[in-house]
Amino acid sequence: MSGGGRGRWAGLAARPLVVALLLGGLWLWLRGQELDSIERRTINADYLLRATREHLWLTVVATLAVAALALPLGVLLTRPALRRVAPGVLAVLGVGQAVPAYGVMVLLTLRFGVGFRVAAVALVAYSLLPVLRNVVTGIGQVDPALVEAGRGMGMSRAAVLWRIELPLAVPVVLTGLRTAMVIGAGVATLATFVGAGGLGDIIINGIKLGRTPVLVTGSVLCACVALALDWAGAVAERALSPRGVS
């Protein structure tokens, strides 16, 4: 167990190192390139930082919104009164999951115009279901004997939820959120098509203008954002998972 714990921390320490190596490599490679004026308009610190910030912001806001929606919804779907309808609700939401995020964005744009909010809503729609499913699974896998023991000791339903069901569901819920966030970081590149900026701008520019250094820069930064978010998620999992549970 202590060995496993050490391995987990070692894995956590390696992630930022990989990001640093990627960024360092990109910088060295760009220094060796002769950048023309068009490329220089994109590849400069101000612009890159702004795009990265937009990208991160979009992903994080969407993930927080997903958490804010999926947690209460998942709790509701695991209450005795609604437990039986949970599979139906998940199936209906599963249809939404099958629609490509790009399609959702375009459809939303037709109705609400372009911008950050439309991109965020599309991202939320895209990752709500997997997270919700993990919340339902996470609470559902709590041993019914523990719930009965809690009730038998005189804990109210709310106390059983807060002190038994939710803490024990944390690892599964956080794993779902983390996965959704990392996938979201990739999907967020599509935000460029609805004028919401982000690293997608750089990648699309690189493709449209046929400038390889621009394309590579956008892609590597996007990968680094995903890796960094995944790392942050892993740290959160490690910190928030209840002790005493393997």
Binding site: A145, E148, G152, M153, G154, S156, P167, G244, V245
Partner: protein, 399 residues
């Protein structure tokens, strides 16, 4: 068996308790009425599906009764707030139900915290409870449940159930998931703890042997919670109320009854003794004159040392140290006839030596004494059967 109940005041009164589940035409529990006296350990025993667990869960209203009433210590609790009620009733389940993300100490502290005790009192209570169930608080308090063995976890479960000092304890197959050795240890532990705390306990089991061992009284459940018989273990074994109970008690009822008789119920027979320091020649005279042809040697503190027969004294040794057959088969008066029989069969069968708490010689119990007692039990049962048959006959005659 000593009477553990105080004046029979019922701590629990179940009246016409009924549970009907929707979609089932027959009730799971049908108009069950039963009193459990304060300080009594009542065992519900019966095959699976007989409604014994449903009945248990109606007492703390994890299952709401369809009709009927429950009284706790003279108060009708059928309609009070179930959460408050449950904090007054300890609850132990088979799977222990320890919360894996809380330490042992935090688990035990759950009910006292729900009751709003000040934290210093909670801390003291946690340590007291862990000690009560035989776990060193300093060593176990801060560990997590999965770091303990199954038996230790079940002890923590009992400690947790007792922590709020409830007058009543409900135990649902508490030892069902443990191996036979651990189960026996935990059963003994429960009897020891119960002798100390004297709670009113209702324990559910499907194991008749467990029921006999633990129960002050046993409620034998038949189908749909029909109470086939309620009585002391001796009554259930010796006078089963009907063929169902007889079948359920099973074979070997006579042997099982020996579990219920303590050695002090049987007259120990005196036996010629001598001191290790006595003159060997005098001891030989004693051996020759004794009926059994042997003498028990005692040390200075009157503790049995060895059996000495005539063969051991020819030729006559200079002193008696190390002479004879070591007297190892000793039991105290708290042991049961079953233990005595076990020891006799395991040794040469001559008998067991009865000693007091300090190991001093009190007498000898042999096979004859045990058989005499068994014969007495049989005669008693027969008298009851005859009386019952006579009563039945006269009732039929009247009808």
């Amino acid at each position: 068996m000593p009477d553990r109940t105080d004046a029979g005041r019922p701590m629990l009164r179940l009246r016409e308790l009924t549970k009907r589940y929707r979609g089932q035409d027959r009730p799971a529990v049908d108009r069950l009425s039963l009193d459990v006296a304060a300080g009594e350990l009542m065992v519900f025993v019966g095959p699976s599906g007989c409604g014994k667990t449903t009945t248990l869960k109606m007492i703390n209203r994890l299952v709401e009764p369809t009709s009927g009433s429950i009284e706790l210590d003279g108060e009708d609790v059928t309609h009070v707030d179930p959460n408050r009620l449950r904090r007054r009733i300890g609850y132990v389940i088979q799977q222990t139900g320890l919360l894996p993300h809380l330490t042992v100490g935090a688990n035990v502290a759950l009910v006292p915290r729900l009751l709003g005790w000040p934290s210093a009192r909670v801390r003291a209570r946690v340590d007291e409870m862990l000690e009560l169930v035989g776990l060193d608080p300093a060593e176990h308090r801060d560990r997590y449940p999965r770091e303990l063995s199954g038996g230790q976890q079940q002890r923590v479960g009992v400690a947790r159930a007792l922590a709020g000092d409830p007058p009543v304890l409900l135990m649902d197959e508490p030892f069902g998931a443990t191996d036979p050795l651990t189960r026996e240890r935990l059963q003994n532990e429960l009897l020891r703890v119960q002798a100390e705390v004297r709670k009113t306990i209702v324990l559910v089991t499907h194991d008749i042997d467990e029921a006999i061992k633990l129960g002050d009284r046993i409620a034998v459940f038949g189908e749909r919670s029909r109470l086939a018989q309620v009585g002391t273990p001796d009554e259930v074994l010796g006078r089963p109320a009907d063929p169902y109970v007889k079948r359920f008690v099973g074979a070997g009822a006579s042997l099982k009854r020996l579990h219920l008789v303590r050695l002090d119920a049987v007259p120990a027979r005196p036996f010629p003794t001598a001191r290790v320091t006595d003159d060997p020649a005098l001891v030989r005279d004693l051996v020759v004159r004794s009926r059994s042809g042997s003498v028990l040697l005692l040390d200075a503190a009157e503790r049995p040392v060895a059996w000495v027969a005539a063969d051991d004294l020819t030729p006559l040794p200079a002193d008696l140290a190390g002479v004879g057959l070591p007297a190892t088969a000793t039991l105290t008066a708290e042991a049961t006839l079953h233990d005595a029989l076990d020891v006799m069969l395991g040794t040469d069968g001559a008998g067991v030596i009865l000693v007091d708490g300090d190991g001093r010689f009190r007498g000898v119990v042999g096979l004859d004494e045990v058989m005499a007692h068994v014969a007495r039990l049989h005669a008693e049962s027969r008298r009851h059967d005859v009386a019952a048959a006579a009563a039945l006959g006269s009732a039929e005659g009247a009808a």
